[in-house]
Amino acid sequence: MALFIQRCFDAVANGVIYSTVALALVIVFRATATLNLAQGEMANVAAYIGLVLRTPATPALAGTGLAASIIPGTPWPFWAAVVAAVGSGALLGAGVERLIVRRLTDAKGLAVVSATVGTLLLMNGTTEAVWRPVVRGFPSLFSNKPNDYLAVSGGRLRYTTLGTLLTMFVVLLILGFVLHITKLGLAFRAVSSDRAASALVGIRVGRITMLGWALAGAIGGLAACLVAPTVLLEPNMMVRVLVFSLVAATLGGLDSLGGALVGGVTVGVTQTMLAGYVPFVGSTLSLPCALAVMVLVLLVRPAGLFGRRLVERV
């Protein structure tokens, strides 16, 4: 029983990791109807910026010398470094939209998606060149010592899992408010639905799109700071997470905020339980099994579990 409880906690812990990046993917999709495959790498860069700002400038760590020379007051307190990471993610998101995506607005097919793949590779290579392909310990936003957990029927529910889950809920609430209650949210929905019609009614489409990318970038930055203590910060950290987050976002519905969370946890539960209780699956086949679940769900609900099924007037 204790093992089952622990696996439940592990499933949630893994699922929340996937959900954090899935949420950023959903934000961009909701705001601009674009799939941003560079989302994870943008988040990775933001996390590195956070690490640099909170790390004393020592010869043993690449990148810190630069920070020490141009940014006053390093090392910053960890909370300030995380805020800076979130801000950096927003700036990166806005920058990518302004410099790359907006120029492809009229392009046909999957040009924008392809451009985000290029951005992913560019950022991955740059990250590796600047910060080297080595693992970096990244502090947790929540207390993360060996004994920092709630003991529940023999299982360990770590404070980091609880904290990340709680953070996700808070972010979801804020986003829900912004997207459903405010005029900004209305503008996001309008632009993602019909850019031309939005422009005709006076919405500044370019600015709204850029804001959507900035918002997603900020959430991505926060996501990277949340997952880095577990996945461990290195140039490919978010590449390893992205595939699971894509599955989570698609499963939950690419335009559903809550779907990102449910999708992530569903992927986590599927993976953990199948690997744990179906001997021939193991860790090798757990991801393909999660993909199979995604395909099954999409066959029944093409828009995902919580995605809106779009109806077009003909």
Binding site: T34, P59, A62, P133, V135, P139, P146, V231, T250
Partner: protein, 544 residues
């Protein structure tokens, strides 16, 4: 709407494609193999002899100061080390020339010590014994993972090129023909993806026309060694400890350098046998848990350990459980939970790269570190690059008391070796070249390979006929030296068909987080010549 629909389809396809790529690692557990076939009786008896003649580990903890003192008592400066290398190279050259080993006068056979022989007539038409050699250059190629999840090992290339630049600046490698040649070193990034290694090796051999090839990684070397051997291209000093590189009869052109993974596995087993009494649970069983990377690398460890277990007197008492992980897995939480639930006395990480560090942090958090009596990192994760304080986070105590079968190499990035003359020299070379070894610690591993390349090329060049592929492979098969990067007492030798492994020595070491280094425990175990040759059966994943 069409855009949104296409995005949904794209997201699904991209996720599926990435998943397939992530799952596409070669090898696998291969659980149907017969482990009895892979046990190396020579290594096993050698380990037992060494451990039985050694003081108990607990009583023989070698302190950092003691290590430094011991090293300093040997060649006291890098000049002394270089003088020793010159002397030992001359001895190898003399042995080869005295025995008239090398390419026969009719050009049909290459001979070496202990029955080593290659039928050159079977090499492809147009095979060039001096490809990659000019009057001024020796061109060598290296496929290495400079990107991807194991990109950290790509820093080895920088360490190699830095050392070779120093050698080149000093005039290069002197040949028997009176010419001095500089080494041109070409490194190509394969991302640890064997599918990319294959065309890159072709490119190096067919387009760059290199003299010899070095490959990094077990799957990557495995996928190319048949073709290179058929083509009679030297594939030397491979950066992997898979036992398959000890096959001088069927794969004479391929050699490794580091201690074989199955030897490491036997040493884990010997460690368990020595401590059997304290490892037994209430049921009288000893549970050993292993986290195994799902590729040829992990499989070599896994089968090596199973081989030890199959003939161990403890085989009925040891319960061996293992879980596999994909090299690209973002977390290892699930398999670590499963293994921890087995309440193992001993945990062994048979992994590489980021998952080594993850195994340390996970074990600290899920209770395994507190419950298991002994935890082992693999030799490939011995360095501070994987276990240091800035990697595992916090005060670094998560790494404390982890053990390693270290493969006999000094951890040149560790402060424990600050006083060692070779370590100082390697660090200084890198620093002078603008490489910050503290940032890029794995470059120091490249200094090791740089030294080895320098030595084997020097020996081959000093042989009659100068630097030829035949001379290179004979030089390696007859080499016997004392490298400055090995712990005292470790040998660096091969002997034709009788001894096909360069390094067969290892220490047991325990991590001390206050010193940020592995501290040797007990004496070095030297197994030179003990390892049996290994004709690797890929289908059964075992030595025959």
């Amino acid at each position: 709407m069409r855009s949104q629909t296409s995005c949904r389809v794209t997201a699904s396809l991209v996720a599926a494609a990435m998943a397939l790529a992530a799952c596409g690692s070669s090898g696998g557990d291969g659980g149907t193999a017969s482990p009895e076939n892979t046990v190396d009786k020579g290594v096993q008896s050698g380990v037992n002899d060494a451990l039985n003649s050694t003081t108990t580990a607990a009583a023989a903890v070698t302190t950092a100061a003691a290590v430094a003192t011991t090293v300093a008592a040997k060649p006291a400066s890098i000049a002394d080390w270089n003088a020793l290398a010159t002397k030992e190279r001359a001895a190898v050259v003399k042995r080869i020339t005295d025995n008239k080993w090398g390419l026969s006068a009719d050009g049909k056979t290459i001979t070496g010590p202990e029955g080593f022989s290659i039928d050159v007539s079977k090499c492809p038409a147009g095979w060039n014994n001096t490809q990659g050699i000019t009057d001024t250059d020796i061109k060598i190629g290296n496929t290495i993972s400079q990107s991807g999840t194991l990109a950290i090992y790509g820093q080895i290339a920088k360490g190699i090129s830095t050392h070779l630049d120093v050698i080149n600046a000093a005039g290069g490698i002197k040949g028997a023909d009176g010419k001095s040649r500089k080494i041109t070193y070409i490194a190509k990034d394969d991302g640890y993806d064997a599918a990319r290694t294959i065309p890159l090796v072709d490119e190096l051999v067919d387009s760059e026309k290199v003299f010899s090839v070095i490959t990094l990684g077990s799957p990557n070397t495995m996928k190319t060694y048949d073709k290179l051997n058929v083509g009679c291209v030297p594939q030397v000093l491979s950066m992997t400890g898979h036992p398959a590189w000890g096959d001088p009869v069927k794969h004479p052109w391929t050699t490794g350098q580091q201690m074989a993974y199955n030897t490491e596995a036997v040493l884990w087993g010997a460690f368990i046998e020595k401590r059997a009494a304290e490892l037994k649970g209430a049921d009288g069983k000893i549970t050993v848990a292993a986290l195994v990377m799902n590729n040829d690398f992990g499989a070599a460890y896994n089968f090596g350990f199973k081989a030890w277990l199959s003939q161990s007197p403890l085989k009925d008492q040891v319960v061996y459980v293992n879980e596999t992980i994909e090299p690209t897995a973002p977390t290892i939480t699930d398999p670590m939970t499963t293994l921890t639930a087995k309440k193992p006395s001993v945990f062994i990480a048979m992994t590489a790269g980021t998952s080594c560090t993850q195994s340390i942090t996970e074990a600290a958090q899920n209770g395994l570190k507190a419950s298991a009596k002994y935890l082992f990192q693999p030799s490939v994760c011995k360095g501070a690059s994987f276990v240091g304080k800035d990697k595992v986070g916090g005060d670094g105590s998560a790494s404390d008391a982890w053990w390693v079968v270290g493969g006999g190499l000094k951890d040149a990035a560790s402060p424990i070796y600050d006083a060692d003359p070779w370590v100082q020299s390697a660090r200084a070379e890198l620093t002078a070249a603008g490489v910050d070894w503290k940032k890029d610690q794995t470059t120091l591993t490249g200094s090791i390979w740089g030294w080895s390349i320098e030595q084997v090329m020097s020996i081959a060049s000093a042989l009659p006929g100068g630097p030829t592929r035949a001379n290179l492979i004979v030089a390696l098969r007859a080499i016997d030296m004392t490298p400055p990067f090995l712990l005292e007492g470790a040998k660096f030798n091969m002997n034709g068909n009788k001894d096909a492994y360069l390094i067969e020595a290892s220490e047991f070491a325990k991590y001390d987080f206050t010193k940020q280094g592995f501290i040797q425990v007990g004496d070095l175990i030297e197994l030179s010549g003990k390892s049996s040759n290994c004709i690797w059966d890929q289908a059964k994943a075992t030595c025959t």
